[in-house]
């Protein structure tokens, strides 16, 4: 996208071999895209036009699932709002947190390897353990956080039992989990050519200046990737609702993918769930296109094609 090629100006024998190398490289992706993504997706589109419960034989119903989604569905509106709210908090939180931690961990501090592992551990833990563990901390009556609050004489916070607190509470867990972003940032920081830093240091540039003018610009492809990864992952959020809240209280954590899961695998509305899928797809596509569109302005691409 941001590196779309202009017509190559090489000799044509190069061009032909270049293309065939590319196609060979892409054979696995062809298979994956056709058989694991778009053909099944076509199936999903087909199912979305039926009233299939997953059990009895389906009947063709045209667009009525989509019409129902937009008119009478009791969940979809709350669900979209909850998802976007969650994604906003989690993306902002985890981007700032992980870049900050990665910068700190890139400095020469004692036991650096140990600390790098520490921040990564939450990402490795299985979801069940994470959410059960946190649920004891967050519990409304006897949880540890409320115990601390009562010790200092503050009123209880109901955390995940209260529709106004549940999304921020879950976002906090998402930020805590963002060890993968830290890893990518750390790997990316290695790619900042140290020769630039040395040069800047000789020039007497302050730490902040160096960060702003050297580190950050050369990190932009990685920042972009992390932003995209975290945006998509958080818009597709489902695990906290599955493992912890069941979408509640009310619909305050009934995230879109959870809603779809609930329809498809719990409530016997497979056709309807497949229609919901395309709403999710559309919303994700809008956010992704916007992100790509704005990315041209701030991505500094060293090895990219002619810019």
């Amino acid at each position: 996208m941001e590196t779309y090629n202009k017509p190559p100006q090489r000799r044509s024998r190069f061009l032909s071999s270049e293309a065939s190398v590319a196609y060979i490289c892409l054979i696995p992706a062809f298979f994956g895209l056709i058989f694991l993504t778009y053909l099944p997706l076509a199936g999903v589109l087909g199912i979305s036009m039926t009233n299939w419960t997953g059990l009895k034989n389906p009947e063709f119903v045209g667009f009525s699932n989509y019409i129902k989604l937009f008119t009478t569905d009791p969940y979809i509106k709350d669900s979209i709002i909850a998802t976007i709210y969650f994604a906003f908090l989690s993306v902002a939180g985890s981007m700032i947190y992980s870049l900050f931690i990665a910068m700190l961990l890139n400095r020469k501090i004692p036991a650096r390897g140990f600390f790098r592992a520490v921040f990564y551990v939450p990402f490795v833990l299985p979801a069940v353990a994470i959410y059960v563990g946190w649920s004891w901390l967050y519990e409304a009556n006897f949880g540890f956080f409320n115990y601390l609050l009562s010790k200092v004489g503050l009123n209880k916070i109901l955390f995940i039992a209260d529709s106004s607190y549940v999304v921020p509470s879950l976002s906090l867990i998402a930020v805590w989990l963002s060890g993968n972003l830290i890893v990518i940032f750390l790997a990316g920081l290695q790619n900042v050519p140290s020769i630039y830093h040395e040069a800047a240091e000789m020039d007497g540039a302050s730490g902040w200046n160096r960060f702003w003018h050297i580190t950050l610009p050369s990190m932009t492809p990685i920042i972009f990737y992390n932003l995209l990864l975290s945006l998509i992952a958080n818009l597709q959020v489902v695990t906290p609702a599955l493992a912890l809240t069941n979408g509640g209280p009310g619909n305050s954590s009934r995230f879109m993918t959870y809603l779809m899961y609930d329809q498809a695998f719990v409530n016997y509305k497979l056709g309807y769930a497949c229609a919901t899928t395309f709403i999710i797809f559309a919303i994700l596509a809008v956010f992704t296109v916007v992100l790509f569109k704005t990315s041209n302005r701030w991505i500094f691409s060293e090895g990219g094609d002619d810019k």
Binding site: L41, G43, T50, S150, L158, Y268
Partner: protein
């Protein structure tokens, strides 16, 4: 960017084309089975039409699926091995599926026609599966037997019995005896005739609720934010709330589950009373209703003096706690206008995709005989389903006289007698369709009721039409 837009457009077009190819060519679509719109690429008929030839020497193989832990899975396989040894026609293999994902897995298997022959099914889906033609009629299972399952344990769709519950369960009031003794409050009654009214229940709960200065709700200077011990906790899972709606003269549905009654004042008032235990009476912790460890959090932890929950807790947690020194008791539920408890139990079904319905039924009948799943019954997780265990005192003694249970007399009157009294009513999912959908929507509607952001009346009024549509199966 133009190129990208073009790419997006192209990909959409491609999906559409693929959908058409896959959707139309129903003969060569084995890969995705995306032709349900054609209405013929389905599952059940193909597998049932071809009965397998079984010679006398070769045993019929049957798969029984169950939810549970690894330990429970191997115990059930042991039982199956015993069954396999008793006769030479049927060979049962047990497939244990993790509890949390049980229905997800079964639903997925159903889409591809990969279901086991028989298995246990979660209560709320039974009638749905039956109405979609996925279950065999099992009415004939107990023909000619000396004892039948309790009437209330049959799942019925259009007058036919489509499943019997694997076990019986009822809702009870558990209490921590030490906490009652300390507050000098009489124990809740275990006899149905003496059941507490709701107001008596709340009054007792107030005496058992203390803030950190030892004050009770209603007293001057009581600090509702500083409660260290609660008097009562009423589980607010959607299906359990039906108890209170019925008790207050309302209900979720009419008698055959075809009309929704939850909008009636009696029903919403009952739900509000449950919410008010936390909001107004300050005798209950906020019940989140999302986990199955209510009794461990309350009675066993010593944070709440009384709590409502299912009988299974005797076997899942209270037996171990009793061994560790906990003194707990069982009592009948308090009531609003009518005395009500719900009974329920996961369903043992024979899937219509099976080639061997007779053999499957034979196995189920053998397996649900109490002697053959004695482990679950003697630990207290399951209650027997056959009537004789409730009516024949020697059998009742055999069941209850063991260290996992509370004293015989107490358990006999608060559980055994209670379960066959007029107060015990089958949960609506024994005869009502679409309860999964209905309960999900009800739970979501009531989300802000428990924290007092809205009232039960308003919350239900707002979603009443959707609740009615859910009951009708408007998919």
């Amino acid at each position: 960017m133009k190129a990208m837009k073009k790419g997006m457009m192209l990909s959409v077009v491609m999906i559409l084309i693929l959908a058409m190819i896959v959707g139309c060519g129903s003969n060569n679509n084995k890969n995705t089975n995306a032709s349900p719109s054609e209405g013929k690429a389905s599952t059940a008929p193909e597998t049932t039409t071809e009965p397998e030839k079984t010679s006398k020497t070769e045993k019929v193989k049957i798969t029984y699926s169950m939810w549970g832990s690894a330990e429970e899975g191997s115990k059930t396989q042991e039982a199956a091995d015993k069954f396999n040894a008793t006769q030479d026609r049927i060979e049962v293999e047990v497939q244990a599926i993790p509890w949390e994902n049980y229905m997800t897995k079964l639903n997925t298997q159903a889409t591809a026609g990969q279901l086991p022959d028989t298995g246990i099914l979660k209560e709320d889906g039974v009638i749905q599966w039956s109405s979609d033609g996925m279950l065999n009629d099992v009415s004939s299972m107990y023909e000619g037997s000396d004892s039948k399952p309790l009437d209330s344990l049959a799942y019925k769709y259009q007058g036919k019995t489509v499943a019997y519950a694997a076990a019986n369960e009822i809702l009870l009031l558990y209490y921590n005896k030490d906490m009652f003794d300390k507050a000098n409050v009489p124990y809740p009654p275990s006899v149905l005739e003496k059941a507490w009214t709701w107001d008596e229940f709340v009054a007792a709960a107030k005496k058992l609720t203390n803030d950190k200065n030892g004050k009770h709700p209603g007293e001057d200077g009581f600090d509702s934010q500083g409660i260290v011990q609660y008097g009562a906790s009423v589980e607010n899972l959607a299906w359990q709330l039906e108890t209170w709606a019925l008790s207050n003269g309302g209900g979720f549905y009419n008698n055959d589950g075809t009309e929704v009654r939850i909008g009636e004042d009696a029903s919403t008032e009952a739900i509000q009373k449950v919410a008010d235990l936390y909001l107004k009476d300050h005798v209950a912790p906020l019940s989140v209703g999302q986990t199955d460890d209510g009794i461990q959090r309350t009675i066993i932890a010593g944070t709440v003096a009384m709590a409502t929950n299912g009988q299974w807790n005797v076997g899942t947690s209270l037996n171990a706690a009793k061994e560790a020194g906990l003194k707990y008791g069982v009592a009948v539920l308090p009531y609003m206008k009518e005395k009500v408890t719900l009974n329920t139990g996961g369903a043992n079904v024979v899937f219509s995709q099976t080639k061997h319905p007779q053999e499957a039924m034979e196995w189920l009948k053998w397996y649900t005989a109490e002697e053959n799943n004695w482990g679950l019954i003697s630990s207290g997780i399951w209650m027997p389903i056959l009537e004789k265990w409730y009516t024949d005192e020697t059998l009742t003694h055999k069941w209850v006289d063991n260290p996992n249970f509370p004293p015989y007399d107490e358990y006999k009157s608060a559980v055994v007698d209670y379960a066959q009294s007029s107060a015990a009513r089958p949960a609506s999912w024994f005869f009502t369709n679409n309860t999964t959908d209905f309960n999900t929507l009800l739970g979501s509607s009531l989300g802000d009721v428990w924290t007092g952001k809205t009232t039960a009346k308003d919350a239900i009024a707002k979603n009443l039409e959707a609740l009615k549509a859910a009951n009708k199966g408007d998919k």
